[in-house]
Amino acid sequence: MAKHLTPGRIVLYAALLLMAIYYLLPLYVMLSTSVKTLDDIRGGNLIALPQSITLDAWSKAWSSACTGVECGGMKGFFWNSVKMAVPSVLISTLIGAVNGYVVSMWRFRGSDVLFTLLLVGCFIPFQVVLLPMARLLGELGIANTTSGLILVHVIYGLAFTTLFFRNFFVTIPDELVKAARIDGAGFWTIFLRILLPISGPIFMVCVIWQFTQIWNDFLFGVVFASGESQPITVALNNLVNTSTGVKEYNVDMAAAIIAALPTLFVYMVAGRYFVRGLTAGAVKG
């Protein structure tokens, strides 16, 4: 289909191109800086292409850069983040699915109030819960541990996952649940055998959303985990702010990209489901 290149379109494309460049430029600077040598960085300017490509900064960032007094690179913290994010995402998504199922299909007296309260949870700023949460984790004896951090993220994420699943399930006709009840299926059978198999798209939405939120979280990580159990975001901050020796911009950039890769990866693999999941229910199957 040949579209005519009218002046209006040219302006439109130019504007879009400009914005794309504007947004891609930082990524380019990060990538190119991470493969430059330190001399190259000092000698050239920020935008210039690297004179020679070296992955030294990457390997240093991964395994030997100093974050504070430790000099083991990002490696350990990367796995910390994985160990924190994967269970948090799965647990909060699964509980959110059950919650959403209950508030949409098994209304009980006060279920609307409960749902509204859960919604309010979406709007509670991180800072507000810091102190009470710190105390709670202390009482439970899981302060400064990955499990503690998982608990925090699960609780905080529940509001969102419940909302997602509830909004998905309300688009499914009640009659489906009624039919299953008459067929003799109970609460869990209906959930596991009828609703979960058709919840794929909303699962992807939840997983992407939660993973991005949890992986990128800095505040909870810096407050509720310390030393060995720090997530990668906190380690990145420490790495960049370590002030001994020369400032190694290439290592900083490589570390930052390492920290960002998993969310990028998740979005690339599952991104198409994200849009599909958000629009699910708009079309009747």
Binding site: P173, A180, I182, D183, P197
Partner: protein
Amino acid sequence: MAALSINNVCKTYANGTDVLKGIDIAIEDGQFLILVGPSGCGKSTLLNMIAGLDDISSGDIEIGGKRVNDLSPKDRDIAMVFQSYALYPSMSVRKNISFGLEIRKMPQGEIDATVERVAQMLQMTHLLDRKPSQLSGGQRQRVAMGRALARNPSIFLFDEPLSNLDAKLRVEMRTEIKLMHQRLKSTIVYVTHDQIEAMTLGDRIAVMKDGIVQQFGSPQDIYDNPANLFVASFIGSPSMNFIPAQVVESAGVLGVKICDDQGCVILPLPHAQDKIKPWLGREVIFGIRPEQITDARTAYREGLPVMACHIDVIEPTGPDTLVFVSLNNTKVCCRTHPTEAKLPGHSMELVFDVSKAVLFDPTTEQRIA
């Protein structure tokens, strides 16, 4: 033994709305009960209460002589077909049919045999391995019925099962449901808002409005002897004519006075003399169905009152031509033979078969005679 009896059942929602106000219905084994009424009349709520999907506020529901108020849906020995078909989207047709049987722990061999039997009965063996999304509306409807049939319950509940189908398919499926009923002699409760479905399918019809059963009886009885203005207007298409008219006496016989712009006639009502005597000189609503006002050839009976009327509009339907005239300043529909109908603007002799005409009180809208 009554297969289903509903005794003084009420439904009140938490906010105080009365949806059902004392429903009494009983049907025998093998009967086809229709709950019909406009939307919001409570018919679907009543069906859900029979199914156990909705609580009963007061009263009793008995299935096969057993009170089921407190039984959960799965223990009531019912199967239900829904308007949206409610097929399980992730399961194949076979799985949809067998799901309920598996949950009831039927042995696998028996399940397979049942699925096979039902699929053959509904001619959908070739569809068994498809997913619901790969089926047409009519096929989904068939699967939904198959799922109910496989369970072999003591009562089938149908919740407006045909209203999502196109007109042609609806008529086909209607016949099919009727055939199934005749063959299996099953007890069926069927909710619809379509009076034609009600008339064609039902053994017994409960016409509902505002949470009250307006009339409960056989289709013909309800058609011929409507209990009130609402039932008379709801059942029958085109609808019964309601003509405001005065009760007068002529030659010692009571009748109603009907006028158009050319003159008046008095239609004697010999069959209802006693009942209309108190209404002499007062205004009533004279109800007469379109087929009871017709041309002389169709009327075939001698001695019926005749009136020459000015034709406003005609609507040929094929088998009949509907002629619209204006009587007592009310638009009146008459069903005539196509070759006998005159053109609009002309005058035509219309024969009134008053033997089945009914009269209503204009204020209470209840039947007088």
